[in-house]
């Protein structure tokens, strides 16, 4: 395999993860927040921890995007 095609395969694998990691980051954030709200604190803090961890999840999603966008080797 030539170097060009190997590079293309590597980049394809990396970029194909972006969409999924954005979606899953947000879902994990909401899931952790919901668990803390309803199971750990028994609904006393609802809905604030869900919203805060939703923010963290969105932050993680954008950090993934930023990491890929700011790569030096492209």
């Amino acid at each position: 395999m030539s170097g060009n095609r190997k590079d293309a395969l590597r980049l394809l694998a990396q970029f194909s993860t972006i969409g999924m990691s954005v979606a899953f980051s947000i879902f994990i954030g909401v899931g952790v927040g919901y668990y803390l709200d309803h199971k750990v604190f028994a609904g006393k803090t609802s809905p604030w921890l869900t919203l805060i961890f939703l923010g963290f999840g969105v932050g993680a999603a954008f950090k993934n995007l930023y990491d890929v966008a700011s790569r030096k080797d492209l």
Binding site: A13, I28, F56, G59, K63, N64
Partner: protein
Amino acid sequence: MEHPILFISLILQGLGLPVPHGPVGDTLLAKLVSPHMTYTWLVMLFLIVVPKLTLGTMSLVPGKGQNFWEVIIGGLEGFMADNMGKEGARMMFPMLATFALYILVANMIGLMPGFMSPTSNLNITLACTLIVFFTTHILGVKFHGIGYIKHFLGPIPWLIPLMLPIELISHFARILSLSIRLFGNIMAKETLLGILFMLAGAYFAPLPILCLGVFVSIVQALVFLLLSILYFSAAMEHAH
């Protein structure tokens, strides 16, 4: 949908074992003889027996079988050495090559009628992914000691309360994306093949999907290998 005909399940059912009709059984015995487990064992048996049979006696001038396996193993090692360096490739080679060969054979075996891909069950892919996930962090602790936590803290000290949950969430998203990608692709292939066989199998309707299935199987095995290599090398290098 009609339950697909899986010959190992039929044989075990004939022997009187409680083969579950859903994906996963209730009791321990039913779990052990559920289709994805038995076909995993078939793949393991294939990967143990076939190299033994084809390799023959190892010689300096390789014969046909030895040449084939040397190309595969050499190609895998070169692929790893390109992405994580010679030292890392030598250290992680047994585990990653096992994953690559297992996932490749497990994906491909589902293309034959009477077999199913063990990787079309989320439990199998999740198990592979959890092994990769824990190995990543064990490698990180091994290479950096307690300083591995710097990987999670980001570059700026006063942003730590913000960066720590963000980094943790993005690490856990890796588990989900790695396992669900493999599972989703292979299950889509299996389901599509099953439906097309059932609807218009006599008119060769599944043929294009079979060709696509070969492609998807190889690509998904390579992607799993490549992403685990990238995670390992990210854990081994210094924090930015």
